[in-house]
Symmetry: D2
Subunit: 202 residues, 4 copies
């Protein structure tokens, strides 16, 4: 099954995977607490505005994963003090689905949210997942590994994730049977202490 790009989040582990039929020549590049998805050096030129973006950003209040330019304002609103629910909801509502041929949804999550965050019920680290589609805006706390993808699985749904280490998480989502894996990133930890890893195949 092809579900397009997807995020998986649970309270202390998160992942983002690029799956693509149209633009496979891309890679995940880690720089400090940020993972950038960008064309490989040999990729054909394109002016598609949805190709390059930060897919992971670590903040003091949680680590953000997502499939587009909304990752930055979500991270920035967390840093300004917004609770995770609102930090996801406001940028998703505003930036909306991608204006491509498929009305591709935006998907995002925050992992390792402070226990003090009023939008999570967890005593320890919490997780929030979200998506904006042409016909929906869904943002909710999750306590078990949960996936939301751009196609097919486009509402948050339980996901079987075994790995707990950032590198292994990146590898596990890359190797998942969902089709057309391009590159992936994993994050593990809680606010203040996150490991980040990328995997670009072999």
């Amino acid at each position: 099954m092809y579900v397009g790009r997807f995020v998986v989040v649970s309270p202390e582990v998160g992942a983002y995977r690029v799956s693509s039929r149209s633009f496979p020549n891309r890679q995940a590049v880690k720089r400090d607490g940020t993972v950038t998805v960008e064309p490989t050096p040999d990729a054909p030129e394109t002016d598609n505005p949805y190709i390059s973006y930060n897919g992971v950003r670590v903040t003091e209040h949680g680590a953000v994963v997502g499939n587009g330019s909304h990752v930055d304002p979500i991270a920035e609103k967390l840093e300004l003090g917004y609770p995770a629910r609102d930090a996801i909801a406001e940028p998703l509502l505003s930036l909306d689905f991608e204006k491509d041929d498929y009305d591709t949804p935006r998907v995002a999550g925050v992992v390792g949210v402070d226990a003090a965050d009023p939008t999570t019920n967890a005593d320890g680290p919490g997780a929030v997942i979200g998506t904006v589609r042409r016909d929906a805006l869904l943002v909710e706390e999750v306590t078990e590994p949960t996936l939301v993808a751009t196609y097919e699985e486009n509402s948050p749904t339980a996901f079987d994730l075994g790995a707990t280490d950032a590198s292994e998480v990146a590898r596990e989502v890359y190797d998942h049977e969902y089709e057309h894996a391009v590159c992936s990133a994993g994050v593990a930890g809680s606010a203040g202490e996150f490991d980040v890893a990328v995997y670009n195949g072999e």
Copy 2:
């Protein structure tokens, strides 16, 4: 089962029911295209700010149902041109859950949305439902009768609704086995032509 206040929406029928253990002395009063929930003349005085509000408002772009003061800005944003998804999402995010002892969610829906509304896929009238909880903001188009309640059933879920006439709809949700019915309202039609009815028991 006690699920508290709830809305039910489908493309051409909507309902709102007040269920209450704490403030049963209330009634639904219809004035033109608006239904106001308010204390009965014999109700004890209260300064609870969540007791009285418009539970239904008809606009040119759809009929709004909901359990609190958010019904007004949702109706007003529809009138300003917002698509139904955004007209629900923005006020829910901003007004947020009720700051009472139960963090009671706000619930809302829009019925009979214009086919031209870009946030519904329907060829004919569409429907959008939403809720804001401490741990979630959920807004989505629905094509079959769907309920969202303040407690227990606090995510949108399929609901068996038979009636298609406004009066019958009000009566059907009032008589539902969910406990502590107080009053109800029903709406039927599509943008530009809505019937509204209330039911306050016998």
Copy 3:
């Protein structure tokens, strides 16, 4: 000159005054850190939805003043962690101007904002003022006493305020030459320590 209802804010002092030609039978009632504007016992009945509301609410992150039901969500968003600018902007955008015969603007301010709030430049307590009109949404930090009113002075403008004590502030804005004073409230202090006072004439 009649400017209608207005707020005045500066970093450690804030005020709200009800001026009204249509509904003069109202009073400001103080309950803990909240001031409610409500009809006097002898007021004629009305179903105008804009008559009664909290005009002042004290929070841990600043004291909110305003002319309507937006004061509550502004206070609640401050409590959830929003910076003052966003706590004012989001509810004003969502609740919008009053849908009365005059498209009356909503006005609001936050006084005694934490120095840590990223939307104020002040080393000590800060202040933010805002209004939403049919044709504008204006939210900005201020460092000197600044007024915004529903009519005439409907953009933030410098205001000559001498008093620094909550009671004196309430009295000073009540006695101002702007016409049709009904009641007023004053607040003084900074986050964590506010005095609140009301004045209802003699």
Copy 4:
């Protein structure tokens, strides 16, 4: 004086000018109703995320000008039916100021707004201007040529603009005495009929 990047809007004319000390090797490229600001072929490589973006986008409900990635969601919200005030305010609040060394504001405007837009008072085409700064969010209708810039003139202020033709407008703002002009764009017309032009010096 160096005011950085700026927009000028009036009901039927709009302009955007890039002024830059750090990244002068940029050009404005017109493609149908869109103007993209992008590095010239000889520009040094950079990973600054604020260098390339659409500075103008024409929609059926008005032409958008602005200094960054917010131009796209503003245009898209206009196309979804939002009034111009809200189409500017929501993306600005969400995307916020640029997270660079100067907390550079985002500036934007919409020109040739439908007379039916409820957030403009004009009988004919209207114009709305806006900016988000660390300490403010300002969005308002204007009826005469008005400028807002990233620095110094960072609140909307009257601006002397003579040209009424798109090409002349682009040239006039490029030639303005504000320092460090890099490239510019002009737009003229009203909803449904806009001319767009760019100027990149000689």
